[in-house]
Amino acid sequence: MATISTQLRNFKEPTREQLNYLYFAIPPAEGDPYLNANGNGGGKDKEKGGASELEKIEVGAILSLGVQGVEEAYTGRLHLLPPYLAFASLDRKSVRFTMPLSTIRRVERLNAKAGVYALSLALWHGMKIVVQITALRPTADLFCSLLRDALKAELARGQMKAVKTFVQTCYSEVLVAAANDADAKDGGAPSKNEALPGSDPNSAYLGGLGLKFKFPGDPRKLREASKTKLWTSYLKMHGRNLTLVRYPQCTRLVQVGLPNRLRGEMWETLSGSLYLRFENPGMYEQILEDNKGRTSTSTEEIEKDLHRSLPEYSAYQSEEGIGALRRVLQAYSFKNPETGYCQAMNILAAAILIYMSEEQAFWLLEVICDRLLPGYYSPSMHGTLLDQRVFESLVHRCLPILYDHFTAVDVQLSVASLPWFLSLFINSMPMVFAFRIIDCFFCMADRPLTIALATILKINGEQLLQIQDDGGFIHLMRDYFSSLGDSAHPESPDPRARAITRFQELLLVSFREFAVITDETIQSERKKFRGEVVHSIESFSKRSAIRNLKTLERFSKEQAGLIYDALFKAICIEPPPADALPPPTLLTTKEGQEERPETRIELKTFRVFLSEIATWARNERIVSNGFQQRVEREVAEHEFIDRLFFFWDKDYRGALSFQDLVSGLDGVMFNDLMENIEWFFNLHDKNKDGYLSKDEVLTLSESLLFIFRFEIGDAYLGAVSRFMSNAFEYGDALLPRAEGKDGEEDAPLQIGANQPYINLATFRMVVLADEILESFFETDFSATFRLEPVPMMDLPSNQGLLGDLWTQITSDDNKKIFNRLTDGVGRAVGKHQVFHRPAIGKFTALEEPKARESLLTPTMRRSASKASLKSPDGDAPAAPPASVSAPANLSASEPAPEGGLPQTAGLSPMPTMYEAAANAAAAFMERTPFAIDDAKDEDEESEDEESIAEDDVMDEVDAFLEAHDSGLTAAEQEAAQDLINAEPVK
């Protein structure tokens, strides 16, 4: 339910070069992610990599066709973007082409007048393009040599051969071949038939379901024949499919409507999906093959909608059509798991499949979702929302009266326009008309949609000013759409005017009146509103994530919001893998079965998340040099954090959801002393048997040391070391004895380092024996979790030049440089200081906590220890000494000022010792000196009557240790003995 997407954050305005690629519909040069992920395109990637190393160049040029008088020449820019050659006239709309270099067979430098540098490019089918390079001579030379290199590279890749097989899939070749045959029969111009693919003109060109199930609309009414004729002659002259050169006539022909049989291919060509298909032969089948039998949320959703996509079209009442639709949609969702499947894509895919084969449709869908309508179908639908916003703003600008009216009667344009955008009018207009708008859409990118809508509003302006609510608006629009085929001027006396349909009027008005709306307008509007839209989407998803929590636990909504912010930030910094879902088998075993996609974070992201919340989960260095003081924050890594991660992962998924985090934090942030102790105990009781093993006691100590790592002074270190010694002491004392041999050796069972060792009660007692630990568990630990407002990261803002400049300056890299510089200066003047910010920060100076009386009365202590004695083998003979020895250590307080010395001396080997602690046995041996050492110290200071008893107790303990620590070597025992007897330094 809570899917958290940071995709919107990662948006970057395309660079100029990317814009060029987009404009020319050239597939991005870097390897396709799908190919990389699947590893089956490795070779291809390398080739592509090689191609992108080839230099790109852009020169001014004048384009003309080799034949005189066919088209006038156009001035523009010629781009060499290996492996493509592209041209656009200066206005970027009259003339353009994008050609794979592999279609070029010969390049000749033309012998022309002096000072004219012209190249003649002969294409595979014999057509010639003449480009006159207007750049200076050296640039022109450079262009030529780069072109030569690029062509060679293409030849080496074998793409030249691929062209011929590829074009056989194109219907345009059939058309042109037929026309050439006809010409030949007429005895007309000598046929340029030499290179035509397949002597059989009915070769395997690709087509859609329409070939079998009929195309929508009446072919006679649509004047199919004459359109086809016009196109045939255009394609013959100006190239087709891969080599199409788009002159103004081409655009005009598109506006009249494409002939049905050619429509699919022209969509491919105009949108540029043709190049994707050309570059990735067989990938569609490969994707289907690789994912055979796989199911996902997307495939389920697709399945629901298959029979609901253009159901009235006959192909979609048969398995043939349904199967094709299923495969295309599934292939898309497999290739783009992030987008998956969005309702409306089914309608789109069903519509284009009428005109094109599955493979063609797959690539076209890719281009639509990825480039033409970016973000329209993404889970957040940000593209749709953004364009709604853009549309509203354009209406505001171009049709202010209408806009004011809508505002006055509180009609939201987007409630009606959203479905139109999403389904490209396919299910709102009669299909024939929708397809004509789509023709324009592929020819002129996304502008036509917006323009068409604006036009519709304009044409219906009068009536729209009458409407009072959303309902009226929608009814009006519905009536208008259904009457598109009617005459626009039924009253007109002129029969020609009467023949103009409302649809024609729509196109006419839109091209005439809204030519002011250019691609640039739309781009800049999108830029303007992106931040706003992203913000509203993000705050919506935050609200719904919080609402969808099964339980808020004890947090308030605001606190949950803060947790969400921290999580969101963590995901931004350390994005979870794209598909963090466990394998499907795991899901189906769950009884709920229906799993909603939910964002889950893995350990890496969790560390970042925790570092936002818990003070000990980050390393904060306060750096001050003469100029500034700053806090450098790093994410800490420690086994303790990993342990916490798995502790909170109740379902063993290896990933945590937002809910898991909230519940997890709840489990620790509201705890009182006892709960915290228990929580800490459980956290380290890995097998949940209610006992910590020796290993686990050591790990727990390590955890404590980790938390205390930046505390000032030695108090905490002391506390941990006392904790360890006490824990082992109690633990040993409480070990079950070998039964029935009470009089004898009385040796505790030798237990392995991973055997149950101490239980919660014992642990609690040991913790309460220490003031520092007690206060740590009582308040300090919970307080290390802080829900603070996470400073919101800046959205990629592009507010004009200044904004760009500012973001440039404040980029992280530059900040680092600045910091390094000031540090350097600071160091030079001796003012550079770095210290770590402690996690708890209770003791700001080296002052130590005061000594105190034990909180527990002796009786309480006794009973506590008795309670703890209810270990499996109840009657442990060693119990009495242990319970009495408690006071000795319970009075554990702080060493006298002088006492500090031996203690620190004792503690300094701590780190090494605790590293070695991983080896439990070793640590087990080493702990003894510590225990005694501390105990001794304390003896010195305790001045109440208990001290007398303590001496006795100590003796007993010594005896006990002597007797049982058989694991110690003689030397070690001796050392231990020495330490026991050692007088504290005065």
Binding site: R308, N346, S380, P419, I474
Partner: protein, 257 residues
């Protein structure tokens, strides 16, 4: 639709109603049945939202439902607030043959109760009961589709197990949903858009529960007439404007929309 008398049209009260629920539970079909008494087996999924209107006569006044039928797919969720803002009523639909759809319905209810108009009247409708009724649907459904197994193509493919015991298809027991509805303060119905069962009742009951006078007062600038609960028009108010023959007989209560 057919607004019988001009005077009734004058008095008609506009009620904005929104339909919410998981994808393919039959929201659009419910509306289609209510608005035009039709059933389409393969209804195209709603993109964004669809808008329909229908009048409903309750006692002596006429309600004009403005129905926003929203898209069910999860990713359209973020658009929903646009549609339920200012709504006076909501119908949250789930599919009785799909347990997860009730869960989704619950989240919708939660969201509506927190975010929407505080006085919103919410009805919970368990659709597709025709799939779980023991009576063989073949005999009763004289409609075009002869397939006896599924309400429409949106039924999950796995459950196509025709014949046998239809109760086994049921995943949401009536009692469970009803108990939830009670607890959350919702109207509750089990419906079938295919047979028409329970559809009109939803809208009738909502009409009864809606504070019409308040709406009138606010929308007509305080011109709302008094006399809140006139005499029960009873069964004779049947001269309604919807040709739901089979339902009119059932509609024993005041309203026959």
């Amino acid at each position: 639709m057919a607004d019988a008398s001009g005077s009734a049209a004058d008095k008609s009260v506009q009620v904005k109603l929104v339909l919410l629920g998981e994808a393919a539970v039959g929201k659009s079909s419910v509306v289609l049945r209510f608005v035009s008494n039709e059933f389409q087996a393969n209804k195209e999924p709603t993109i964004g939202a669809a808008f329909l209107t229908q009048k409903c006569r309750l006692e002596d006044r006429v309600l004009r439902y403005e129905i926003w039928d929203t898209a069910g797919q999860e990713r359209f969720h973020s658009l929903a607030p646009m549609y339920y803002r200012n709504a006076q009523a909501a119908v949250v639909v789930y599919d009785v043959t799909k347990a997860s759809s009730l869960e989704k319905a619950k989240t919708w209810v939660k969201e509506l109760q927190r975010q929407a108009n505080p006085n919103i009247v919410i009805a919970l409708a368990g659709n597709k009961v025709d799939l779980v009724q023991p009576s063989p649907s073949t005999s009763s459904s004289s409609t075009l589709d002869v397939e006896d197994e599924a309400d429409d193509a949106t039924a999950t493919p796995g459950e196509a197990a025709a014949g046998g015991e239809p109760e086994s298809l049921r995943q949401v027991p009536r009692e469970e949903a009803e108990a939830y509805a009670q607890e959350a303060g919702l109207l509750f119905f089990e419906t079938s858009a295919k047979t028409g069962e329970g559809i009109v009742e939803i809208f009738t009951e909502i009409a009864k529960k809606i504070p019409i006078d308040q709406i009138m007062a606010s929308s007509r600038g305080g011109a709302g007439r008094g006399g809140a609960a006139g005499g029960r028009a009873g069964d004779n108010a049947q001269g309604g404007n919807v040709n739901l023959q089979e339902n009119q007989t059932k509609g024993k209560d005041a309203c026959s929309c």
